[in-house]
Symmetry: C2
Subunit: 592 residues, 2 copies
């Protein structure tokens, strides 16, 4: 059975050596000294590895079962959920007035990576609740906040997002679910929603569904969509639970993975709902959840890569097969461990260098969110808005590939469910799809975010890279291995952006045909920047005579690998982008 | 439910327009005129799409069940297997004296692609039998051939390959299964084998296991391994079935995919076996099966990509979502079909251009095998031996990626088992692992095949590319779009080979660290060559005033896509290779 070890040391490195969180003037960051974050991460890591991780296989094997309208979660899930609740892990960053601890989002994200790595399907119940609570926090009335948030902060009540219908996913303007206004100010919601994660289950007293629907007579398409709060049980004035609402789970989907999460078809039959935010502005409210959810999904890509990698390393050290080509390394044994073989190394280094770079990228993104939300920093807001599709799309595409590589290390055993490696790939696969399939992320990036506010945010990104290189220019240890490759990669990204500017006006397809490559190119440059920053921090620690030389030297070697062997992908993506629309659009539909 | 349409037209194009099979002087090829191959392919395609394809989901859902020592295959498998037998599809290329039709291997491969695409798990029963029969054909005594081959040719008896043991897969020298010589010339085989595909099932009267084992007192390691025929039921002198042999299925593995194939733990308890080939030369005999099996597995990569692509295209044309950025293409409908979106196009073109190039590559490899086996052409033998790890490794790595891309086109529905796209990826995943994991293929390519016979075969490959370019040099229609990119890619491959030569002697890790990249680089150049040949053929057809202009124009556009958007990957692989061993080997094992 696979295991999970919390990567607390690396998380600490990112928070303190690279992001210097406790020296930041972002409100709340002063508390984040190394001892404090270490204590939180150790505690969360223990829960992840000892409680959540052992349930990961159970969840995959048993799945969720719908019987007589009730969904039974896998054995042990409810008890574990109680432990998570009791430990206060469900609302780390929510305001104290609603029962949260108001910790920075960056710390919540670090904890989230561990929970997700240990058990993605389980952690989604909590993650979706957090997203729904955020939407109510931002768009709800005082009354709505008071009614729902304390119970959602504690996960006594969980939350869901209801967007997709059988005939529409990305194109929500086609939505058919309707919400008819009632005399008492409520609405009757009727329609069917599909792919509703945590839609129905037995781990909470109530489930607060956030549902997109159209109010009859409103504008056509996406502009006529509003968001509604539709609780499973109506909440009475005194906060106690009243009648069962007209919403029910019609079916649990059979999925490729995340079997421990109940993915439901939800039927709304005149269910009572209350408008959240303004009429016809449902998408704006939903995007509050969605942006957070997208960062969270990027985190899942990283988290599954991490747990798969950990197990691949253990197997590669343990499994004796063949001999090192440069001479026996385990002469007393019948064979050498797999890890002596260069191609196994190549695979493990691909994984390790991605994971550590991705972790830094993700936490940097979370730091930007704190700077924006807590510090009112508009530049940070713009930057993270630009980066959100990259975090989501790149980290999940690459994260999935890394789970496939980790599985490959196991040879035939990787294909047998008993060893658990298949589950990591099957679970990781969904992250490329939900919260906007990665093609939609690429479209969002190239079609919207790049040009947002006159291209200000992407210029800010380039400035950031340039400034970093300039400020580090006298560091000879970094120059050849980190700064020059970063400069070259960043130049590729600029050339790609330039190509879009020059050609996208005449023919939008010239830009969109390269959107997926651009997202990956951007992702590589971001990881390149993260590695350069990490290397600078590691070098500083070594220069400062750290007592943990091995850790920082490993960090540098891993970074060098990324810069040398992964970053050159930018040139390929640029080459593809510069072929423009013609190769991609040459065929008519009937020629396929 | 997904469907399968036999790609007969494209197979015909490859066989006749590109490979010109009926004009070849290889024995047996004269029969392969277009009418004949068309009739065979149409008939096989009908069986594939109407009988095998509908059972694909059934096999995945029901799996194989072991009860009281008997394995029950999924509903409908046995009846379908009878149909395959009755149609004479089980021994297309085996000699007539044993009941085969002695057709060229190239035609058998074309048929195999269709069966595999329609139902990989099902087709493996037949495929493994073919491999075992080939080993008996080459290494068996006349008596063994007479006893086993007619029944195996008809698949009344099926066959298996038994290599892996719990503690050894790739490193078969560690094998513990032993074969003790008996006075009557037979052996008693004792040990446990795992991952035995089609190890036990209810579709054949007998199962002929080919088992690797060590004769006590023989040489250590791999040099002490011999191959044995161990039938499930002992075959009596008159050919009728006698006693049940001491071999049994201990367990069926729970796998990620190919559920319709029974992957067994096989226990040999003093089972009676007969030596196949010479004592201690088991690996040589096994390699007869293995090389064929590796080509067959490469075929599976292509076949799963094809079926996944077909369904993705259908979905992309059918599913209405969003609007074309260049203006509505379905103005009367609520939205445009997915296929209008550039990023969906990009994905479909990646798939289509891979599949058609891969098909040509595979059938070219099969043609080389015919030239070697039937024509005694040693150069062809050397070339296909060099190419075998590329066919296996590249086509399965890429084939898997293509199934993931096809699944992505479906969005959320791709993750739901009901739609069938998940099965294609889960089934395709095994092909990267079995018959030598792809890392082993890369090692075989770089560590062995490249330098084989003084590097003669790789030089022959470069000559082939050079000659093709030279011979086509006056073709202006091909020059910029096909010949120049091919030349550049081939130069990258040569540079990589040069790097290995210059650095691999001093440090073998400098070559092995780049083995995976080299395999992919080689694969791209092969597909580039195949596309250039295909484009030349298509151009010739167009110049000749073909009545099927649309087909050949589509072919050219698809080829251009490959050359422009896929082939530039060679530069990235070369860049990685040229970083040598250091980045890959920098860490000590305990630094991971």
């Amino acid at each position: 059975m696979p295991s999970y070890t919390a990567p607390t040391k690396d998380l600490q490195f990112v928070l303190h050596d690279v992001l210097n969180v406790s020296q930041s003037d972002t409100p709340g960051y002063a508390e984040l000294d190394a001892d404090f974050t270490s204590a939180v991460l150790e505690e969360a890591g223990k829960l992840a590895s000892e409680v959540l991780s052992p349930l990961n296989t159970v969840g995959d094997t048993e799945g969720c079962v719908l019987e007589n309208g009730v969904v039974r979660t896998p054995t042990g899930f409810k008890a574990a959920f109680d432990q998570v609740r009791e430990g206060g892990w469900t609302a780390l960053d929510l305001p104290e007035e609603f029962g949260g601890q108001h910790m920075p989002y960056v710390l919540g994200t670090a904890v989230g990576e561990m929970f997700s790595g240990a058990n993605q399907a389980f952690t989604m119940y909590q993650g979706l609740t957090h997203g729904a609570a955020s939407a109510i926090l931002v768009h709800g009335t005082d009354d709505q906040k008071a009614t729902y948030l304390p119970k959602m902060a504690s996960c006594d009540w969980t939350g869901t997002m209801n967007l997709t219908e059988p005939h529409c996913g990305t194109d929500l303007g086609l939505m058919r679910t309707k919400a008819e206004p009632q005399d008492d100010g409520s609405y009757k919601v009727t329609g069917q929603k599909i792919f509703i994660s945590a839609g129905e289950h037995d781990m909470a007293d109530n489930i607060i569904h956030l549902v997109l629907a159209k109010i009859p007579g409103g504008p056509e398409g996406i502009k006529g969509v509003s968001l509604f709060i539709v609780p499973k049980f109506i909440v009475k004035q005194d906060g106690s639970l009243g009648d069962r609402n007209g919403v029910s789970c019609g079916k649990i989907e059979e999925k490729m993975g995340i079997h421990g999460n109940s993915t439901c078809v939800m039927n709304y039959d005149g269910a009572t709902g209350w408008l959240l935010g303004e009429e016809h502005k449902g998408m704006r409210a939903m995007f509050t959840m969605m942006n957070e959810a997208r960062i969270g999904v990027g985190m899942q890509g990283l988290a599954q890569a991490e747990v798969a990698y950990q197990n691949a390393v253990a197997y590669a050290k343990d499994r004796l097969q063949g001999r090192a080509v440069t001479g026996d390394e385990n002469p007393d044994g019948p064979a050498d461990p797999l890890i002596v073989h260069p191609d196994i190394r190549r695979s493990l280094m691909d994984q390790k260098s991605f994971i550590e770079g991705a972790r830094t990228f993700l936490l940097w993104g979370a730091q930007l969110i704190d700077q924006s939300h807590r510090g009112g920093d508009e530049a940070a807001e713009g930057l993270v808005s630009l980066m959100t599709p990259v975090i989501k799309g790149f980290l999940t595409d690459e994260g999935y590939d890394m789970t496939v590589k980790a599985q490959q290390v196991y040879g035939g055993h990787g294909y047998i469910e008993e060893w658990g490696m298949s589950q990591f790939t099957r679970d990781a696969r969904i992250a490329m799809i939900y919260e906007g399939a990665n093609g939609v992320q690429a479209l969002d990036l190239v079609g919207r975010k790049l040009a947002q506010d006159g291209g200000k945010h992407v210029m800010a990104f380039f400035d950031l890279v340039k400034t970093f290189i300039k400020d580090s220019g006298d560091n000879d240890a970094l120059k050849a291995d980190f700064l020059e490759p970063l400069k070259a990669a960043s130049k590729d990204l600029q050339s790609a952006g330039m190509f879009f500017m020059q050609n996208g006006m005449k023919n939008p397809n010239a830009a969109l045909a390269g959107s997926n490559d651009f997202m990956h190119l951007f992702g590589h440059v971001c990881l390149g920047l993260m590695w350069a920053r990490s290397a600078k921090a590691a070098q500083a620690a070594l220069d400062g005579g750290t007592s943990d030389k091995a850790f920082y030297e490993t960090k540098l070697a891993t970074g060098r690998y990324y810069m040398k062997r992964r970053l050159p992908a930018t040139a390929m993506h640029l080459a593809r982008i510069e072929t423009g629309a013609d190769p991609v659009m040459a065929l008519k539909a009937d020629q396929f």
